[in-house]
């Protein structure tokens, strides 16, 4: 049981422990290894002696010693002198300077920014954030992504050496750079959320945990940057979307929004998401996360599918097209326009997408088109569209759903 306590403490403290190490020695790889060793020491020692009064100070002290040992051993091997910078008298670590505990938020933000450094690919940013900021073990991240632990270890190792080669620093970027760097952190949190949310099909706890992890991280970011509109927007979007998690699957099958049992939605989360949105929207600057959250909120406010305010949703999609244009946004807009104004208006938006080779290979283009054709009273066209979509999708539940649409139309 204590091991579990040590783990909980670790999940809470790991960004601060890492930050304390990184302030003195900039290499994320070395610091993560030392912090990991301290976490392992905590698991055994706290089990025996109980949790110390100040677990963070304990972890920082042990991790610092391990870091000094590690860097000394490395420099002895390499015969380098530069390690002096780190191998200061142990006291420098044992008694952290007065500013060591200055601001937890500041530490966490710097760590976020380091893990989402522009030199890294998106998957590397995600893996590193889960490991360093969220404090998840390599094994847990590998399990969440369904790859062997060895593969995940390699990705993390590669990511750290990329940071080293890029000279990435644990610090705040210039004011010019900061907005785009924070946008990258939000993208990483959102990607993590989408991966967790869209992969959870009932049975698998691991995936739904990824979505919860993303909400936890975005909540942290929102707390650090309460004035950041898109951090608020992203958190609202995640809360409003994940509120539907329990209703979106049924025994491994996807349940489309139209057929979901809305009493199974998490109304507490919806209320929280709406509250955040109501606070942030009037501020004026409206980014893509806020708009997507606003769309989710309109859905959430309809007690039944039939009462959905499609006109408002199609207007929000039109705004989203201005702020963050993409073929996928156009597809979603086509659905809303089709519902608000009629299938012909929706089809007029979808059909031009077929000129784009990538969209022609995208299953949703054909699924949305088939849906609108079905509404327009063209079952033969709809069957052809559903069939093409079913062949192109790589999602098992979507393929089952699309095949069921084909069978339904063929039977009638």
């Amino acid at each position: 049981m204590t091991t579990r306590v040590a783990e909980d403490v670790w999940r809470r403290e790991s960004p601060h422990v890492l930050a304390a190490l990184l302030r003195r020695h900039g290499d994320l790889g070395d610091c993560e290894d030392a912090a990991q060793e301290a976490a392992e020491a905590a698991a055994t020692q706290w089990d025996r002696d109980g949790v110390p009064d100040n677990p963070r100070a304990w972890l920082i002290r042990v991790a610092s010693r391990r870091l000094i040992d590690r860097v000394r051993a490395d420099s002895a091997r390499a015969g380098r002198e530069e390690a002096v910078a780190v191998a200061q008298p142990g006291d420098a670590y044992l008694a952290p300077p007065a500013d060591a505990y200055r601001s937890d938020g500041d530490d966490t933000l710097r760590l976020f920014l380091l893990c989402c450094h522009p030199s890294l690919s998106r998957p590397s940013q995600v893996a590193l954030t889960l490991h360093a900021v969220a404090g998840l073990s390599t094994a847990a991240i590998a399990a969440a992504y369904l790859v062997p632990e060895r593969t995940m270890t390699q990705r993390l190792t590669r990511a750290r050496s990329t940071l080293r080669a890029a000279g990435a620093e644990f610090g705040l970027p210039t004011e010019d750079e900061l907005p785009s760097r924070i946008a990258a952190v939000l993208d990483v949190c959102h990607l993590l959320f989408t991966e967790g949310h869209t992969r959870s099909t009932g049975g698998s706890l691991v995936d739904s945990d990824l979505a919860e992890e993303a909400i936890r991280l975005t909540r942290q970011l929102h707390a650090i940057l309460p004035e950041h509109d898109e951090a608020a927007g992203a958190l609202a979007l995640m809360l409003l979307t994940h509120a539907r998690a329990a209703a979106r699957t049924d025994g491994g099958d996807l349940v489309p929004l139209a057929e979901q049992d809305r009493t199974r939605w998490d109304h507490e989360r919806i209320a929280e998401g709406v509250r955040i949105l109501e606070r942030v929207l009037p501020r004026g600057h409206v980014g893509r996360f806020q708009l997507q959250a606003a769309i989710a909120a309109v859905h959430a406010e309809a007690p039944v599918w039939e009462s959905t305010d499609w006109l408002q949703i199609s207007l929000l999609y039109a705004m989203l097209t201005q702020v963050a244009p993409s073929p996928v946004v156009t597809l979603n807009r086509a659905v809303a326009v089709g519902m608000a104004l009629g299938p012909e208006d929706g089809l007029a938006l979808v059909d031009p997408l077929l000129d784009d080779p990538a969209m022609r290979r995208h299953h949703r283009t054909h699924a949305v088109r088939a849906h609108l054709l079905e509404m327009a009273g063209d079952p033969a066209g709809a069957i052809a569209g559903y069939r093409q979509a079913a062949q192109l999708t790589t999602s098992l539940p979507e393929q089952r759903y699309l095949n069921a649409c084909i069978n339904r139309l063929t039977a009638s």
Binding site: S121, R122, P123, Y145, L146, V147, P148, T151, M152, T153, Q154, R155, R158, H197, T198, R199, S200, T201, S204, D207, T241, R244, R248, G252, L254, P256, L257, V335, R364, A367, T394, S395, L396, P397, E398, Q399, Y401
Partner: protein, 130 residues
């Protein structure tokens, strides 16, 4: 996103790496062969190091396979090969990458003279909201 890269080939005699036993490949000038080989090995090392390669296996000769067909309520087992096709499955790689575009970029480098390389997406248990 996970994909398998399937190598369809017919090395004579059956052997790995398959290009060493393919006339189309062996007919290339030495310098071209060396270039293809070293580029492929470099890519494979890179995929291993950055964690995009999940696994890969070379397969035994088609003649070494056993075929299981259902016959009269029970399996009927015979010796391979599965078909008299010009090419057989010779090996496979499982990759896990960021996008379809990245999978396609990688697969280009798996292709070579005398064999067909197939890229197929793996299905996943989740699905988008709609």
């Amino acid at each position: 996103m996970k994909y398998v890269i399937l190598i369809h080939s017919n090395p004579q005699p059956w052997g790995h790496p398959t290009p060493d036993y393919l006339p189309e490949y062996q007919d290339l000038p030495r310098a071209d062969r060396d270039k293809l080989t070293s580029e492929f090995e470099k890519l494979l090392g890179e995929l291993q190091e950055n964690g995009e390669l999940v696994m890969g296996e070379a397969l035994g000769a088609p003649e070494s396979s056993r075929l299981y067909r259902w016959d009269d309520g029970k399996p009927l087992v015979t010796d391979g090969p599965y078909s008299e096709a010009k090419e057989h499955l010779a090996g496979f790689f499982l990759i896990d990458v960021e996008s379809q575009a990245r999978a396609e970029e990688i697969t280009t480098h798996f292709s070579g003279p005398g064999e067909t390389v197939e890229l197929r997406p793996a299905m996943w248990p989740g699905g988008d909201d709609q």
